[in-house]
Symmetry: C2
Subunit: 335 residues, 2 copies
Amino acid sequence: MIALDALGADHGPATVLEGARASGLDVALYGPAADMRAAAGDPRLEIVDSPLAIRGDEEPARAVRSRPEASIVRAATAVAGGRAEALVSAGPTGAVLAASLFHVKRLRGVHRPAIAALVPVPGRPTLLLDAGANAQVRPEHLVQFAYMGAAFMEAVHGVERPLVGLLSIGEEPGKGTPDVVEAHERLAGGPLDFAGNLEGGDLTSGAVDVVVTDGFTGNVALKTMEGTAKTVVGAIRDAVRSGPVSGVGGLLIRGKVGRLRRELDPNTVGGAILLGLRRVVVIAHGRSSADGIAGALRLARRAVDDRMVERTAAALEAGGALRSVPAASVASADD
Amino acid sequence: MIALDALGADHGPATVLEGARASGLDVALYGPAADMRAAAGDPRLEIVDSPLAIRGDEEPARAVRSRPEASIVRAATAVAGGRAEALVSAGPTGAVLAASLFHVKRLRGVHRPAIAALVPVPGRPTLLLDAGANAQVRPEHLVQFAYMGAAFMEAVHGVERPLVGLLSIGEEPGKGTPDVVEAHERLAGGPLDFAGNLEGGDLTSGAVDVVVTDGFTGNVALKTMEGTAKTVVGAIRDAVRSGPVSGVGGLLIRGKVGRLRRELDPNTVGGAILLGLRRVVVIAHGRSSADGIAGALRLARRAVDDRMVERTAAALEAGGALRSVPAASVASADD
C-alpha cells in the first residue's frame, strides 16, 4: 500500500485519483473525499478524507507541526506507523520534506535527506542530488549524498557499481569551494567508484551515473537544463517551421522534435525521490498529469520492492559515511 | 592600442595573430616573436617578444608573482602603465585574473572582480556574473556584481535601465542561502531595476538583462547551458538524419540546426569580460578561432570607447555599493 497525498497538485485531486487508478497499485489517497467519489468500487483504492491542505506559500515546518490533520501530514504519519509502505505527493516540496523529516524520519546516522532527480540523458540517465532540499551543506553531507545516490541507482535502476562525480568548477581535486575540496578528499579515499570532479557540461553528457552537489547548485543546474532544453527545442521548431520543408516531411520532423522535448523534460520521469529517510518518499512534480502521478507511484513501488532504504543504509555504513552519534543522544540529535 | 597575450590559446600564437589582424584594430601582441613573423609590415600590429607562458596547471597567483617576464604579466603591466588601453587573453582564466588583480588592479572600493559572460539568448542577450572568478562570495560582493553588470549592459550593449535578477532556488525573497537572502534585501532597497529572485530556468528565457550569482553557481550554470544545448541539438540532428526528410530538405534543416548550435555556443560571443578593474580586461575562450580573438578584441575596444570602467565606478557609487575603506588603508586593503 502506498500513501498518496491527493492535495497540492496543480490539476487537483481528481487528476491525482486518475493517476492512482492508472498505476494499477494499491493506494490510499489522503484528500477531500468529496472530490474523489470516482474511486468508489475500486478495490485497490482507499480514500482517507483529509480536506486540509498545506499551501506553497506557508512556512513548511511551522505548517506541518501545527496542522496534524493536513493531508500530507496524515499520509506521512500512515507511512511512519507502518500502515503504508511509501509516501507520494505532488504538493509543495517544502511541506513534503518537513512532513517526512518529522514523521517518516531520517535513517540513523544520516545528517540530511536529499532530493534526487533523474536527468533523462539519452543513453545513460544521470541522478542529480541534492536538487534542492539543502541550500547549504557541509562536506560530510556531500559524502553521504554520494553513497545514497549510488545505492539508489544500484537498487532501483540496476546499475552495477555506479560511477559518482562531484560537481565543481574544474576537474582538478583542488578546484571549488573549501567544502567541495574536502568532500573530494573523503570520497577519493572511500570504496565508491569515484570519478572525481565534474563540471556543469558533464550533467548531460552521460559521463557518470550520479552527480553530487549542494541543494542550491543542484536546483539551479536542474532548472537551467530544463530551461535550456525548452529554449533550444523552441528555436529549432521555429527554424523548421519557417524552413523549406513543409507538408508531410515538416510535420514528421516537428513530431520528432516534440517527442524529444517531452523525453528531455524532467517532469515526465515520474518524480524526484527523497533519499536518507526510513521509508520511500517520492515528490511528484506539481504540474503532474495523471500519467505523471502513476509514474511516481510506480517509482515508489519499485523502490520499496528493491529494498532501496535498506540498501542505502548498508551503503552508507560500508562507506564509513554514517554520522557517529553518542549513544545517549540518538533520539534527540539534530544533525 | 590593445595589449593581446598571444600565449595560452589552444590554437597557438599564429591563430591569435590572425585574429589580431582580422580585428582591424591597433594591437600589441605579447608572445614569441619567432611564431609571429607574419605580422611584419602591418602598421597596426606591434610584436613584443615574450616567449614565456603561464600554464593552466600552475598555481596562478604564485606563477604571476614569480614570473614578471611571462606574456600575460607583461601585457597586464603594459595596460597598468598606460601603454595599452585594454588587455585581452585566451590563456588560462586563473592567470589572467591574477595578473589583472596584481597589475591592472581593482577599482577603488570594489571587493572582488567578477567574470561576466553574455548568454546568447535569442531576442535578449543576458549577462551572467560571476561566471567563475569567486567560488565563494559574501552578500556585499553579490550587490557589487549587480551594479557592475548593469553598468556593463548599459555602457556596452546600450540597454537602458537594465533589469537585474538574483539567481536563487525560489522566487520569494526568503528563498536561498542566508547570503542570497541578505543580498536580495540590499538590492531591493537600492536604485537598481531589480527583478528579485530568478530560478535556473530564467537564464535562457530572456526575462532579465543581468543575472547575479556566486562564481561557483554561475560557472556550473553556464557550463550546464552549453552542455544541454549541445546534447539537445545533437539529439535533434540524429532524429533528422534518421528521419523521413532526406536530400535537399534534410541538408537545409541540418544546416539550420548547425547554425543555431553555433549561435547558442557561448564561445562564439567573443569573450567574457572582467568587471570591477581599473581597465578593460577580456578573457577569450581558450579554444577561440581567429574570429573569436577578433571578436574579443572588438569587445575590448567597444568597452574602452564606451567608457565602461568609468560608468561602472559611477554606478557602484550611485548605488551606495562601494566598500568603505579607512583612508589610511586604501593601498594595502585586501578585500
